[in-house]
Amino acid sequence: MKKFQLSIVLLTTLVMGACANKNVPQQSTQIYIPSPTVVKYGDSQSIETVTADFGSTDLQTVAETMTRSLLQSKVIQNSISAPTVTLAEVKNQTTEPINTRMMTEKIRTQLMKSGQVRFAISANEMQSQVDETKRQNQSGMYRNDGTAKPSRMEGAKYRITGTISTIVKQNRDMKDIFYNFNLNLVNNESGLLEWAEEKEIRKTVTR
């Protein structure tokens, strides 16, 4: 009988203890502690293979290959003075969202840095040129001798056009992306294609 009474007392104590735990005040809001992160600088020229999408290494490689080839072409090297060139925006013929403006500007900067060509502004930048000339000449705020006169722009002898396209094939275990980048130099007066170069890049992803 005593054992039975003892077990009842123990059970009651346990139940009471369990109920008592419920009364412990709990935090109503949880504090989010983010996992520790590491920030560091990296080499901007290093090989990037995060995904198979068009990346920084592809952009830099394409710009480098194209500009070096163009600079070595007879059209550029046989010119008495640095020829004037305009660069149209590279056309993206892939299904990927590629920033072709970045590519165009990279090619132009590399060519400019070589000192072998001079760039006339492209069709995309024409509006800002017109606006600035108008502002200087029509606002009445500038001295006449210091303004940029209209009809003094220099036309480009050559224009550079480019396209980037892809062939993508994939199955359950593998994806293959083939990039083909083309750049052409056209004589604006004669319409002759003076130089062309292509760069092919193959990237594969396997599971």
Binding site: D43, Q45, S46, I47, T49, T57, Q60, T61, E64, T67, R68, S69, L71, Q72, S73, K74, Q77, Q110, K113, S114, G115, Q116
Partner: protein, 141 residues
């Protein structure tokens, strides 16, 4: 005569010392021109620079480096071929007549060579100022 200088211990010590000094004096095997012009980073021992040449074409220095990937050496104990998992990148560094670097650094380009495959890597200088070049190779994975 002082006995210290004629003792066998002294003579042996002196001989050993002289031989060590002469060993230090001998210069290590002279680097070849290819080795001098190549900068290696990481484990790139499997990639051999077979040939190096340059020519001025249309006013710009053009370099050609022939490389061969021998792949990792087989396991010493079992003789088994290890898988060729290393990935390499390369680039050219262009120098002017004074040895100063011209233009900004090139991008590292992936070297896509399977075992026993060789390739001619061609680089074109970015400006006519470039008079010589260095070949840089690294292991990026």
């Amino acid at each position: 005569m002082n006995r210290t200088f004629t003792s066998p211990i002294f003579v042996i010590t002196a001989l050993v010392g002289l031989s060590l000094l002469s060993a230090c004096n001998t210069s290590p095997a002279a680097l070849t021109e290819k080795q001098k012009m190549t900068t290696r980073m990481g484990d790139t021992a499997a990639v051999e620079v077979v040939d190096m040449r340059s020519v001025v074409r249309n006013n710009l220095l053009t370099a050609q480096v022939t490389v061969k990937n021998w792949g990792p050496k087989p396991d010493k104990a079992t003789g088994e071929q290890k898988p060729d998992t290393n990935l390499y990148g390369y680039r050219f560094k262009w120098l002017n007549a004074s040895g100063m670097a011209v233009f900004s650094d090139e991008v590292w380009k992936p070297l896509t060579l399977t075992r026993d495959q060789s390739a001619d890597l061609v680089g074109i200088a970015p400006t006519p100022d470039a008079a010589s070049f260095r070949f840089e190779i690294n292991q990026y994975k």
